[in-house]
Symmetry: C2
Subunit: 307 residues, 2 copies
């Protein structure tokens, strides 16, 4: 199942007649006009044995992560999070576990500064956590706005979360310190709320890197109907990822281009920005390409194909 | 696990500092001030083998029901539904099934006149459908506002959904026509959107009857700190419920007082209203009582106890 095709198919025939709905399905957030404000709607869930394994993440980190993955969508749309509802489904045996999940949720609410206002609980064999988050912005940023001549930026180094996930799944008896740090990037991601104003004031398009840089930039490319060129020598390699790739004989580029769940932002802007990392540019055309030693390779969802 | 105690415990320590949050946890909807509007936030989910059994409900009815149970919370708060997000988790084998669920969702969106604006899909062994719905109202109605001297109303006859559920679970090879009608009350409930203005303009408190009349009125009683008296002779028995109880030797009162998922409204008002059914009144004190042949019996969640 391709999540994106699947949603597209089912939502294409849901036509929206409400003029207050400025943006519907297909972006990080829907945008609703409410008086003179733009509200941003998003939702994201964490399901046991699909998105997390109970023995591999602390309940506090799980609560933190649930909040962060939702905040990330609001931030990538140029907004601040405001109000959330939560659905929690679990079995009686997990009630004590849930207390610690809520501890993590509370810490994240304090950090990102917004309110959980409503919720619903249900029984379920497996833990299911679903959050709906509403944010607010003066200027919303979509995937559709990349312009020819824009630069492509990322908000930080990528690939750490995937390395962390691989380490977790190795089930090692003991981990080196740098490995524990990488695992933390996976279990306790940080949404880049510090960059809301930079995104809101500068970005022509933006997406949060949840599925991997190439997959996510392909969304911007498709929605903006532009070509995106990444310059290999500009792609930053985090020192922890470097250590990981040396130890386990991996290619960092695979992690940077295809690793998911980093929750950094990838965006386009015509401006020169110091706080983010310039990794490429936007041209007329279509697709995402990697420029490497003067050659261009087209990058698809999960591999290389030549231009 | 008692859903209400459980949520209370976990949310008590989530203090809300945002002045735009007029009402947080603990009512049918949270209420958010947005400019000069009151937004109503609610969410409700349907989980396979918890809330529904695939072989017992058509996917179209399931989609309709998901929408209706959410709309019902908005209506009971005196508002109209406006915008919703949906989370869908399912396995690949259920994708075709989901198409029909969406057909039911679309019919319900057309009927209740609001827009699905965003969504998220995920894998899961069991089907999980979660809706987050935002409504709007000029005057929001809570569980807290019942006043001494108010009348108690219901918007229609109760107990039909429970009779329908019992019939479904009987797994009969064939059903009589009246039985099929009862089953439909369970599988395709109707949220009383036709009553929004009556509720908004007249109700001092309101709740939708999802857990059963007694359980739900106990919420109003507790939150309003008032006693609620129901008069047995005023409780209407629907002709289908009468047929059911005669055939299966059941007591209709059990169904009316304790049957859930009818999605009728129970509310209090000082006004004489013709469109709803007056079934009792509000006094100083606490608890929900049934007045029957001059005697008062206290009604708790799931049984009788004498005054």
């Amino acid at each position: 199942m391709n999540e994106f095709e699947f949603i597209d198919n089912l939502t294409n025939f849901l036509d929206i007649k409400d003029k207050n709905v400025l943006v519907g399905f297909g972006d990080d957030c829907a945008v609703i006009k409410c008086g003179n404000k733009n509200l941003l709607f998003t939702n994201d869930c964490l399901i046991e044995d699909v998105h997390f394994i109970k023995s591999k993440i602390s309940p506090e980190d799980l609560g933190w992560k649930l909040v962060s993955v939702n905040v990330s969508d609001i931030v990538s749309s140029g907004g601040y999070p405001r109000w959330a509802n939560i659905t929690v489904a679990l079995s009686n045996k997990d009630i004590d576990y849930l207390k610690y999940v809520y501890k993590g949720i509370r810490k994240a609410l304090d950090f990102y500064k917004f309110s959980l206002v409503g919720g619903n609980t249900s029984k379920s064999d497996r833990i299911f956590l679903d959050m709906f988050l509403v944010g607010e912005t003066d200027r919303y940023i979509l995937r559709t706005g990349a312009k020819t001549g824009d630069f492509v930026y990322i908000s930080g180094e990528l690939g750490l979360s995937r390395a962390g996930l691989e380490l977790l799944l190795m089930d090692k008896k003991s981990y080196e310190d740098f490995e524990l740090e990488l695992i933390k990037y996976h279990t306790k991601p940080l949404a880049r709320i510090d960059l809301v104003e930079i995104i809101r004031d500068n970005a022509s398009s933006c997406i949060d890197v949840s599925d991997g840089l190439v997959g996510d930039l392909n969304h911007i490319s498709q929605k903006s109907k532009k070509m995106i060129i990444l310059e290999e020598e500009e792609l930053p390699i985090h020192k922890l990822l470097k250590l990981y790739c040396e130890k386990y004989n991996k290619n960092p580029l695979d992690y940077i281009l295809y690793g998911g769940e980093d929750y950094q932002l990838a965006f386009t802007s015509k401006n020169n920005l110091k706080d983010c990392i310039k990794i490429g540019y936007v041209k007329e055309g279509e697709g995402v390409y990697l420029k490497s030693n003067g050659e261009f390779k087209r990058l698809k969802g999960c591999g290389f194909s030549h231009l």
